[in-house]
Amino acid sequence: MAELTLGVFPSLVGSMSLDFSFKLAEAAMAKGHKVNMWLSGNAVMMAKKGQKAFKDYSHIEKRMKELIAKGMETTVCEACAEARGYHKEDVPEGVKRASMDWYLAKTVKTDRLLHIGGE
C-alpha cells in the first residue's frame, strides 16, 4: 500500500475535475492505497454540508462521506472556506479544516502527489 495525496482546487460547478478527483480517490482506495485530499480554492464548496442532490447534477457529498468512512483523510483550506462564507459549523462530518501547512506536510511525506488545478 502506498500513499497518494490529491490537492484539489476546481469547483463542482465550474468543471468536471472535482468529479475526477473523487473517482480517482475511490479507485486508489479500492486498490488498497491510502488517500489524502486537500480541498482548496473553489473546491472548498465541499466544506458546506447539506447540499441537495438533483437528478442529472453532480452531487459528491455522499461519495465524499463514504470515502472518509473508509479512511480518506479530507481537509479543506480554512482561509479559502472563510473567504467564501463557509464556517466551522457548516463542515460535513469527518472533514477537517486547516491551514496550507497541512497540505505542505503531506506533499513532503506522500509517495505520490497529484495537484489538480482549478478553473
Binding site: L4, S15, F20, K23, L24, A27, L113, I116
Partner: protein, 99 residues
Amino acid sequence: MKLAVFFSDWRRTEDTYERLKADKLGVILLGNGIYHAVIKEGGKDSPVLSKAGASFYVLADDLETRGFTAANVNAKVKVVSYGDIVDLIMNDYEKTAWL
C-alpha cells in the same frame, strides 16, 4: 524523471507542455482533454500527440460521457480506466503535472 502529465481541457496552449522534458513521459487525457485523442483538425492529429517518445492514455469514462468509444480513439492513444490511472501514478511515473 518519470513524469505523468494530465490534460483536462481542449486548449491550444501547449507552451508549457512543449518545454517539458522527462526520461519517461506519459500524457493522460481526461475531461475535455479527451478531444485530443479523437479530433483531427485539417486532417492532422492534435499537437499534444506529437510529443516524441511520450506514451498517451485517455480515460474511458470521459470518452463515453462525450459520446465516443475506443473505436474513435487515435491509434497512438491507449484507453484506460480510473484503476489504470492509479497504477500509472503509483507504479509507472514518479511525478505528475496538471496542465
